[in-house]
Symmetry: C2
C-alpha cells in the first residue's frame, strides 16, 4: 500500500531549533557516527563498506523478476508460494529462526463484480485492463478485473451522482445544489485533493449512498500529467487503481480480532461488530469506463475545480444516468502468511532492529511492493553473507515479509499484536520499506528522534547521480520545496517527521510505541495498484538500471547496522522536543484557543528539550572519551528505548483506543495527524477532552524529562535526580 | 540417550503420606479429572477421546521406517534432512510457527579409530558390527565403526589393565593389588553396576590412564541374559555400545557455551577451559573384540564379582597384553538443528506445555530415539488434525525435535538456555519421551507434584493387554518390585519421582525449574546404541505390532491436553512435601549427622505439606463449585507455576553452578541424586556447606509455603496472609 507522498511533506522549518550537537555531526561524518564511540567508528565503517559492496543491480533485477512474474494478491496461492520461496532463500542465505507465521483473517475476495449503465444508454463497463504493446505481462490471463478490497456484497440499480473527490465538503456542495445521494450511486475521483479511498467509502456510507465508484481521472495520474505507459510513466486509458476501502483508520489488521492477533484459533468478534468492515459497495474504474458515465450525466454543471482531464463537461448528475452495480464477495476466513527471519546479534541478541516489507500486491506489484521486496532480498543476502564470514551485528536484526498489507495492514498488525510484549521490551526501531523505487527522488521519514541519524547516514551512501545520497536528497527536496513554496530545506527539516498511516509501520509506531523509519525513492508513477505496475514499467521508467533498488538495499542495511552496532542509541531527544513544540504551535493556531491553557505543555516541552540537550551532551562526551562501560551503556540504552513507549497512552486516542501514540496519529484520510487526541479535540472545540489530552501530553513529557535526566546523571556517574 | 532404568526405581513407600484429595480421585477417574471443574470434565473427555482415536499402528510403523532407514548421528546430513522432513510434516499437519533453530557447537566426529593388540600376539580389533541374517539394514554401508563421542585424539602403545566397571572402588581394589594404571590403557565393562560411561572416562582420566576401552560383557546385555539378535532381544557377539563420554554432569550442552546458547555467532570459551570435554581417549568394544584381549591377560585373577560372561578366566592384566590405540577426532564447529513447532492455545497462548524427543541416533536408533520420534509424529498429526477441525487446546503445546542429545543433551540444553526467560515465565511443564518403546513395561517419571496426575491419566488409556494402562503399569511395577524386593506398589509410589540426568529433561528441570515428566515402555533391550537397534529389532522384539508406539502417542498427548486444558493446574504439593520429607530422611541416614540440625528443614517440610493440603482442598472445593472466575484461575495458576521455579538456587549446587535445582540433581554416574547440594555436602562431611544448603532448602520451603497459603486465601476470596 502506498500514499501519494505529497500529503506527508513537512512544511516546517526547524533549523533554528536544532541542538548544536546535531549540527556538528553533519560536517564530520567520516570521523564520527552518531552513537558510536570514537574507538568504534573505524570498525563500523569497515563493516558498512563490506556490506555495501554486496548488493548488485543484476541480483536486484533477478529477484524483482521472481516477485513480479505473476499476480500475487494477499491470500492467493502465488503469494503463499512466494512466502515459502522467501523462507527457503533466507534459510540458504544463513538467516536464523526462519518461520512462516500464519494468521487466519476475515477474507475479502471478489467472486464477481459488474457495472452497467442502464439509462439513458446501455454501457457495460469492461472492468478490465487491456494489454499494452511491448509489455508481455500485461497479457497475463490471471490479472483480476476491477474490485475493491472489503467492499460489501450487494446489488443496486439507481441514479448516478458525480461527487468530485468524495470528501465531506463535496457532499456539502451537492446538498447546496439540492442533490441528495441517499440510495444513489456516487462516482468520485481518486485525488484532488488526495484522500484514502476508505475515507471516501465511509463518507459515502455516512451520506447514505448505495455504492461508490472511484475512478482515475487523467488529470491526476494520466495523460494530463505526461506520456502514458508504454511511452511514459503515467497511467494509460484502461488502468484501474485497485485498493481496499477497509476502515483501518479505526483499527487496522484483521477486522475480527481488533487489538489481538488472529492466530489460528483466536477468538473472533462477529463481522457486524467489526468497525473496520465497510457496509457499502465499492468499485474502482479506469477513465475508459468512467467516461461514458460522465459524458451522459445531466444536472448542474460541476464547478470549475471539479472539472477533470477528460474532454467533456462534467455534470453533477443524479437523474438521467442510472447504473446497475452488482458485487459478490467471498468473505470466508483465509490464512495470511508472515515470513520472519533474523540475523542474531553477537552481543545483545535480545535487542532487536526490525525491518519489514509487504509481499502481497494488487496485481504484479512492480513498484508496490516488489521493488521493496527485491531490495529486501538483496539486503538479507548481504547480511547473511557477512554473518557466514563471522561479521555479525551486535544486536539482532529481525526481517519480516508481511502479508495482506493492501487489505488492512493486516500481516504486520497481527504480528505486532502477537509480539507486542516482546517488542515493547526488546525492539529498538522499525524500518519500513514499502514502495522502494518508483523514481530517483529520495523520501525519508523518521520519528523526530531518529531524523538526525537518518540524515547523517545518507552522507555515507553514493547516489547513482554521482553525489552522495545526502546531496541528491537535499537537491530534490529543494526542488520540491520550491515547487510547493514550503520554505528552505535544511538538515533539520530534510527528513519527514510527519508520519501518518497507510503502510506497515503503523502497528509499530501507534500500537507498540517503537521509533520508526520509512524509506523510498519516488518519481512520476501513474500505474499505482494497476496491472501496469509491473516488471516492464520498472525496467522502462521506475529504475531501468536497478541502481536505486541497489541503493535502497545499501541504505536500509546501513541504517539497520548503525542501530544494531551503536554503542549508545543515536536518539536525539532535543530534536524530538523541537518537533513537538512545532506540533503544539501548529495545533494552537485553531480558533477559540483561549479556552485551552497550553503553557503547562509548552513548559514541559522546554523541560524535555533541556533534558534532551543535556543527554546529547553527556552522550557525546562519553562517546568521545572512548571506552564505554557495558553496564552503563545498557542502562542508557534501555532508558532511551523507553522514551518512545512513554508516548503511548494505554487508553488510546479518544474514540480510537487501538491508536495509542499521543504524538503521532493519522486522519481517516491516512494523512499525518500530530498530537492526534489533542488536535481532534481542539478541532471539535471539545474543551474538556482537549484539557484532558493536554494533561496526558504534559505528563508524558515530564516522565520522559525525568527519565532523560536520570540517564544524564548515570552518564556522569551520579544517581538519579535532575540536575 | 537412555539409562538402564533400574537405577531410577523408587524404593520408597509413600502411601501413608498421601493427602486424601489425591487418594479420592483415583477411584473416580470417569467423573472427575484433577484440575478440571466439574462442568469441564465431559468436554475434556470428549476431546481426549477424539484425540486418542487418531494415532494408528500402521502410521506409527510408517513413520518409524522413515526415521530408521539410514544412520542419522548428530550433525550428519541425514539427521539434518530428517529435521527438514519433520518441519515439512508439521507445517502440513497444521502446526504453527514451525522453525528450525540452529546451534553451532563443538563437534566430535571420528576421522579414524584403531585398536591393535601388539603383544603377546597381534590382534587387530574389527571395531565393526557384522551383518546378521534377516536384517537387511545391518548390511548398510554407512554404519559407523566403534567410536566414543567426545573422545580425545591421540595415540598410545601401553599395557592393558582390566578395571572391571571402571568405578573409583575398582581402581581402589587394583591399587591394593599393586596395580597402577598411570599411562596404561584400561579395559572396563559397561555395567555391574551401571554407571554412565562418561563417569568411567573421568575416573580413568583422574587415575592417569592413557585411554579407556569400554566393552559389553555378555553377562550384562548378551547371551547370558537370553537369546541374542536375530533370535532374541539381547546383544549379539559384535554389538558395540557407542555413546558419548562428555562430562555433561558438570554442565551439559555445547562445552564451549556453558550456561548460554550456542546460537550462530555466540561467544565461545576455548576448549581448554571447557570442563565438560574429556582429556582421555575412549573406545567402545564388542565382546568379540574384547575377548582376545581378556584371554591373553596376565596378572592376578580378578575377583569373583569381576568375572564376566565370557568362557575365560578374567585377569587384572597390566603387563603382558600391550595395545596400540589411535584415535583421530574432528572437533571443528558444526551446526545442530532443533525443530520447533506449536499448536497455539485458543485461550491462554502464552502458557506453554513443552514436549520433546531427540532425533539424533548413534546408528539407526530403532528404539533410541526413533521409537519416540515415530510416537511424536503421530502425536503431532493428531493434534494438528484436531486443530484443523477447530478443536484446539486452551494453552499452547510446543513440540521440539532435539539434536545432539547423544553427544551432551546438546540441542535441548542450547534451546533451553536460549529461551530460559520465556520458559520461566510461560512454561507449565516439559514432557520428555526418549526411548518410547523397547518393550511393554511402562515406566513413568514425574516431579512429585505431577505424580498424581500422571497416575490418574493412566486410568484413561487402554493397554494392548486389554487392561487399563494403570492396571498394566501396576502389575509390571509389582513384578519388578518383587524381583528387586523393594516393597509394595501403591498409587503413591507407582510413578518414579527420582529424576537423574541422561536425557533432554535435564535443562528444563535443573536449569529452568520446570516440572518434568518422562515416559517409556521398556523391555529386554541388549542392542542399545548399536547398529542392531533398528527397524528389524523393533519389528521382532521391541513392539512388533506398534501397539505400544500408538499407546505412547495417546498417553503423551492426553497428558499434554490435560495440562493444556485444565482449569487449575493439577499440581499436588502435598505429594511434593511427602517426597521431600522422604528425601530428607534418606539423606539423614548418613554418619555423624548430629553435626547437622535438620529440625528447621523438617518443620519447613511440615509447613509446606500443610499448605499443600490446604491448597488441594481449596482447589478441589473451587473446582467442584463449577464456574471458575478466569482472573482467579490465572492468579492461582501463575502462582502454582512459580513453585518449581522457587526450588532453584541461582548459584547452583556447590561446584556445579549450572545445576540450580535444590531438590533434584544427578550424580556423575547420571543416577538420580535428591537434595544434591545438601546430600553431597553431607557425604563429604562438609558441615559448613551442609548447613548453608539446609538453610537454602528451608528458605525455599518457607517461600513456597507462603505462596501456597496466599493462593489458598485467594481461592477463599481473602487477601494474602497465611491462615
Amino acid at each position: 500500500m502506498r500514499l501519494f507522498h505529497v500529503v506527508f511533506l513537512s512544511t516546517v522549518c526547524l533549523a533554528s531549533l536544532m541542538p548544536p550537537a546535531f549540527a556538528q555531526t553533519q560536517t564530520s561524518s567520516h570521523t564520527s557516527i552518531l552513537g558510536f564511540a570514537g574507538s568504534s567508528v573505524a570498525h563500523e565503517i569497515e563493516v558498512e563498506n563490506k556490506f555495501k559492496a554486496i548488493p548488485s543491480p543484476d541480483e536486484e533485477r533477478r529477484q524483482h523478476r521472481i516477485f513480479t512474474a505473476e499476480p500475487h494478491v494477499a491470500g492467493s496461492a502465488r503469494n503463499n508460494e512466494l512466502a515459502r520461496y522467501i523462507a527457503d532463500q533466507w534459510r540458504n542465505e544463513g538467516l536464523e529462526d526462519v518461520v512462516i507465521r500464519r494468521y487466519d483473517v476475515y477474507g475479502s475476495n471478489p467472486i464477481s463484480t459488474s457495472l452497467e449503465m442502464v439509462a439513458p444508454v446501455r454501457y457495460r463497463a469492461t472492468l478490465r485492463e487491456m494489454p499494452i504493446p511491448g509489455d508481455l505481462d500485461s497479457k497475463n490471463k490471471s490479472i483480476s478485473s476491477a474490485w475493491s478490497g472489503m467492499s460489501a456484497s450487494g446489488e443496486v440499480t439507481s441514479p448516478l451522482v458525480y461527487a468530485h473527490s468524495g470528501n465531506p465538503e463535496d457532499y456539502e456542495y451537492l446538498r447546496k445544489q439540492g442533490i441528495d445521494v441517499k440510495g444513489k450511486v456516487v462516482l468520485v475521483r481518486y485525488s484532488n485533493p488526495y484522500s484514502y479511498r476508505g475515507f471516501k467509502a465511509l463518507t459515502a456510507q455516512r451520506e447514505g449512498a448505495a455504492a461508490i465508484l472511484i475512478y482515475s481521472d487523467p488529470a491526476e495520474d494520466g495523460y494530463k500529467k505526461g506520456k502514458v505507459d508504454p511511452n511514459g510513466p503515467w497511467g494509460p486509458e484502461y488502468h484501474i487503481q485497485r485498493g481496499a476501502i477497509t476502515y483501518d483508520f479505526m483499527v487496522p489488521g484483521d477486522p475480527l480480532t481488533p487489538g489481538w492477533a488472529s492466530v489460528p484459533g483466536a477468538k473472533r468478534i462477529s463481522p457486524n461488530e467489526a468497525v473496520s468492515i465497510p457496509k457499502i459497495m465499492a468499485l474502482p474504474l479506469s477513465w475508459h469506463d468512467a467516461k461514458p458515465l460522465l459524458a451522459n450525466m445531466d444536472g448542474p454543471l460541476a464547478p470549475a475545480d471539479w472539472q477533470g482531464g477528460l474532454p467533456i463537461k462534467y455534470h453533477l448528475g443524479g437523474n438521467r444516468v442510472r447504473v446497475h452495480v452488482k458485487i459478490e464477495m467471498d468473505d470466508s476466513t483465509q490464512p495470511y502468511y508472515v515470513v520472519e527471519g533474523r540475523i542474531r546479534g553477537a552481543q545483545l541478541p535480545d535487542e532487536w532492529i526490525v525491518l519489514g516489507n509487504h509481499r502481497d500486491a494488487w496485481v504484479f506489484g512492480g513498484v508496490d511492493p516488489s521493488s521493496g521486496t527485491a531490495s529486501m532480498m538483496e539486503l538479507t543476502r548481504a547480511l547473511g553473507k557477512l554473518a557466514k564470514e563471522g561479521v555479525r551485528p551486535r544486536r539482532t536484526i529481525v526481517v519480516c515479509s508481511w502479508d495482506g498489507e493492501e487489505v488492512g495492514l493486516t500481516g504486520s498488525t497481527e504480528w505486532g499484536e502477537q509480539f507486542a510484549n516482546e517488542l515493547r521490551e526488546r525492539a529498538v526501531a522499525y524500518i519500513n520499506v514499502d514502495e522502494a523505487t518508483s523514481g530517483s527522488d529520495f523520501h525519508g521519514q523518521a520519528v523526530a528522534s531518529l531524523a538526525p541519524m537518518l540524515v547523517e547516514t545518507t552522507h555515507s551512501l553514493q547516489d547513482p547521480s554521482g553525489r552522495s545520497l545526502y546531496e541528491a536528497w537535499k537537491a530534490s527536496a529543494a526542488r520540491e520545496s520550491s515547487e510547493t513554496r514550503s520554505g528552505s530545506v535544511t538538515d533539520s527539516n530534510l527528513a519527514d517527521t510527519r508520519i501518518g498511516s497507510g503502510s506497515d509501520h503503523t502497528v509499530f509506531l501507534n500500537f507498540i510505541g517503537m521509533p520508526v523509519l520509512g524509506l523510498g525513492f519516488e518519481g512520476p508513477y501513474g500505474v499505482y495498484h494497476s496491472a501496469y505496475d509491473d516488471f516492464f514499467w520498472v525496467n522502462h521508467f521506475g529504475d531501468p538500471g536497478y541502481r536505486y533498488h541497489t541503493l535502497m538495499s545499501q541504505l536500509w542495511g546501513v541504517l539497520a547496522l548503525r542501530l544494531a552496532n551503536a554503542d549508545l542509541f543515536p536518539f536525539d531527544f532535543a530534536s524530538y522536543a523541537a518537533n513537538i513544540r512545532q506540533f503544539v504551535n501548529e495545533m494552537s493556531r485553531g480558533k477559540d484557543m483561549s479556552q485551552l491553557d497550553l503553557k503547562p505543555v509548552l513548559d514541559a516541552v522546554d523541560g524535555f528539550e533541556a533534558a534532551g540537550t543535556r543527554l546529547n551532551e553527556s552522550m557525546s562526551r562519553t562517546l568521545k572519551a572512548g571506552v564505554l562501560n557495558p553496564e552503563l551503556a545498557e542502562t542508557v540504552n534501555h532508558g532511551t528505548m523507553q522514551v518512545e513507549r512513554n508516548w503511548l497512552n494505554p487508553d488510546g486516542i479518544p474514540g480510537r483506543p487501538w491508536f495509542k501514540h499521543i504524538l503521532y496519529g493519522a486522519r481517516f484520510t491516512y494523512a499525518h495527524l500530530e498530537l492526534p487526541g489533542l488536535t481532534e479535540a481542539v478541532e471539535k472545540q471539545d474543551w474538556p477532552t482537549a484539557k484532558q489530552q493536554a494533561e496526558i501530553l504534559r505528563q508524558a513529557l515530564d516522565n520522559n524529562t525525568k527519565l532523560l535526566n536520570e540517564l544524564s546523571a548515570a552518564l556522569k556517574g551520579e544517581k538519579g535526580e535532575p540536575q
